[in-house]
C-alpha cells in the first residue's frame, strides 16, 4: 500500500490537498461574505445577533475554527513547497521568457499565487487578532440586545473603517483575494482531476464569477462604511 503521507507528499497529492483546502476556504469566504453583507443593511442589531449566534455555537465553532486553521496551514505548506520546488527544478533561469498564448492560462493571478497567498495569510493574522481577539482595540465594544449582553461587532467594524489607511489596506487585500481566486478556483478543480469538455467551461466561468463576487463583495463593505455608512 502507498502510505498516506507518501501519497500526500507526491506532486499530485500535494496539489490535491491544496485544492481541497483552498476550495473549502472559498466556501467559507462565500458564507463569511453573506454574513457580512448584513453590515450594509445599517441594522446594527441584526449584525450583532448574527455574530453572537456564531459565537454561541461553542464547541462546534472550535471544531470549525480548527478545520479552517488546519486547512490553511496545509494550504500554505503545500504552496510553499511548490514555490521552493520551482526554484529547485530550474536553478538556471531563462534570459527571456514569454507566454505562449493559445492554451496558456499563465495569467498574472497564476504567477503571483505564492505572493498573494502569503500576503493574504499576513492579512488573516491581522484581521483575526483585530476583530476576534481585539488586539490593540481601545474602548468597550459590548452591547445589550433583548436582555442579552454581547459584543458590539457592528460598532467595532464601523469605527475601524473610519480610518482611511485601514480602508485602503483592506481594499488592496481584497484585490489580492480576487486575484488568488481567479486562478485558484478553476485550478483547484483541475488539481482534483475535474476536467470535462462539457463541465470545464462552466467551472472556469463560475471561478471568475466567484472571484469577482467574493473579492468585490468584501471590497465594497469598507468603502461603503467609510464614505456612506459612517456619515
Amino acid at each position: 500500500m502507498l502510505p498516506f503521507l507518501t501519497a500526500a507528499k507526491s506532486s499530485v497529492g500535494k496539489k490535491y490537498l491544496m485544492a481541497l483546502t483552498g476550495l473549502f476556504w472559498v466556501l467559507f469566504l462565500i458564507i463569511h461574505l453573506a454574513g457580512n453583507l448584513v453590515l450594509l443593511s445599517g441594522h446594527s442589531d441584526a449584525y450583532n445577533k448574527y455574530s453572537h449566534f456564531l459565537l454561541s455555537l461553542g464547541e462546534l465553532l472550535y471544531v470549525l475554527e480548527f478545520i479552517l486553521l488546519a486547512f490553511i496551514l496545509l494550504h500554505i505548506y503545500s504552496g510553499i513547497t511548490v514555490a521552493i520546488g520551482k526554484l529547485r527544478a530550474r536553478p538556471q533561469s531563462y534570459k527571456v521568457q514569454k507566454n505562449l498564448g493559445g492554451a496558456s492560462r499563465k495569467t498574472v493571478s497564476a504567477t503571483t499565487m505564492i505572493y498573494s497567498g502569503l500576503l493574504l495569510f499576513i492579512f488573516l493574522v491581522v484581521h483575526i487578532s483585530h476583530f476576534k481577539y481585539q488586539v490593540g482595540v481601545n474602548g468597550d465594544y459590548t452591547t445589550v440586545i433583548g436582555g442579552v449582553e454581547m459584543h458590539d461587532f457592528y460598532r467595532l467594524v464601523y469605527d475601524s473603517f473610519s480610518y482611511g489607511w485601514y480602508v485602503l489596506f483592506y481594499e488592496v487585500i481584497m484585490i489580492l483575494v480576487f486575484s488568488h481566486l481567479r486562478h485558484g478556483f478553476w485550478s483547484g478543480f483541475q488539481s482534483l482531476g475535474v476536467n470535462h469538455p462539457r463541465w470545464s467551461p462552466f467551472i472556469d466561468g463560475l471561478g471568475i464569477v466567484i472571484a469577482v463576487v467574493v473579492g468585490f463583495g468584501f471590497l465594497v463593505i469598507p468603502l461603503y462604511i467609510y464614505f456612506i455608512g459612517g456619515a
Binding site: V96, K98, L100, G193, N195
Partner: protein, 257 residues
C-alpha cells in the same frame, strides 16, 4: 499563393547559449547571421551558421535534431523565450525563418530544468523521460502473448482520445515552457493513453503510482496549472490528460491494498 508577403533574405542578430560541457559554466555569445532565406527552417539557419564556424576553425554550436519533420522529438530550443519558438503546434525543426523579420534579435537557449542537464551548448540530457516510461509506461505483454487484435472492441471515442495522448513526441517542450519545470503533461499523456484503453486496465493503478513517483524523483517541479505546457506542446496535448492522471493517481493511492 503564399500566406506571407514575398520576403527577401534577412540579417539577424543571434544570441546563443554556449556551454562547453555539463560541468563548465555557460554564457551567451552573439553572432551576426546574414543571408537568411525565409524558406529556411530554423535549424537550417543554424546549420549555415555552423558551416561558417567550422570553416573559421571554431567549434560549431551543438544542438539536437534528427528527423526534421516534427515527429522524433529530438530537437527543441527556447527561441526568444518560447519553447520551439513563436509558431503554435510546431517543433523547432519545422519552424521556418519566415516567422522572423529582417534585423530581429533572436535569443536561443536550451531547455532549462534541473532534470534536463545541459550536455553542451543547446543539447540537454532528457533521459529522465525514459526513466519515467521505464517506471510503468507500458503494458506488460511479452511477444507472442496476444489475442486477436479485434477481440476487444474499443469505442472509437476512447481510441481517438488515447491517440491524442499517445501523439506525445517526448521533446520536453512542456517542461521547458512550464514556469515550474514540471513534467506533468508528459507523464500524464502516457498514463491517460493506457487508462483509456482496455489493455491498460490491469496495471492501471500501479502505473499511475510508479510513473508519478519517478517523475517526482527526477526533480521536476510541481504542476501549478499554468497551461503553458499545452500551449508549447507541438502536438497540442491537452491538460485534460493531467486531470485524468490526477484522478488515476488518487484513485490508486486510496484503493491500492
Amino acid at each position: 499563393m503564399s500566406n506571407h508577403a514575398e520576403q527577401s533574405d534577412m540579417r539577424l542578430h543571434l544570441k546563443i547559449w554556449r556551454q562547453p560541457d555539463a560541468d563548465s559554466p555557460g554564457k551567451f555569445v552573439s553572432f551576426e547571421k546574414e543571408k537568411v532565406s525565409p524558406d529556411m527552417s530554423f535549424l537550417e539557419m543554424l546549420d549555415e551558421l555552423n558551416e561558417g564556424l567550422i570553416k573559421a576553425g571554431e567549434d560549431p554550436v551543438a544542438f539536437d535534431s534528427d528527423c526534421r519533420e516534427g515527429i522524433c522529438g529530438m530537437c527543441g530550443l527556447v527561441i526568444n523565450g518560447q519553447a520551439h519558438g513563436p509558431r503554435r503546434s510546431t517543433t523547432t525543426c519545422q519552424l521556418h525563418m519566415r516567422e522572423f523579420k529582417d534585423g530581429d534579435t533572436i535569443t536561443i537557449e536550451p531547455w532549462r530544468a534541473k532534470a534536463f542537464p545541459v550536455i553542451k551548448d543547446l543539447v540537454v540530457d532528457r533521459s529522465a523521460f525514459d526513466r519515467i516510461i521505464q517506471a510503468g509506461g507500458y503494458i506488460s505483454v511479452n511477444t507472442g502473448n496476444a489475442q486477436d487484435a479485434n477481440a476487444i472492441p474499443i469505442p472509437k471515442r476512447n481510441a481517438d482520445e488515447a491517440m491524442d495522448a499517445a501523439s506525445c513526441i517526448g521533446c520536453g517542450a512542456c517542461v521547458a515552457a512550464c514556469p515550474n519545470a514540471s513534467a506533468t503533461l508528459f507523464t500524464s499523456a502516457k498514463i491517460s493513453q493506457f487508462a483509456l484503453l482496455p489493455q491498460g486496465q490491469v496495471e492501471r493503478k500501479e502505473r499511475a503510482i510508479q510513473m508519478v513517483s519517478q517523475m517526482d524523483f527526477e526533480g521536476f517541479g510541481d504542476c501549478s496549472n499554468y497551461g503553458e505546457c499545452e500551449a508549447a506542446c507541438p502536438k497540442d496535448i491537452s491538460i485534460s490528460h493531467i486531470a485524468r492522471m490526477k484522478r488515476e493517481y488518487v484513485k490508486a493511492a486510496l484503493t491500492t491494498a
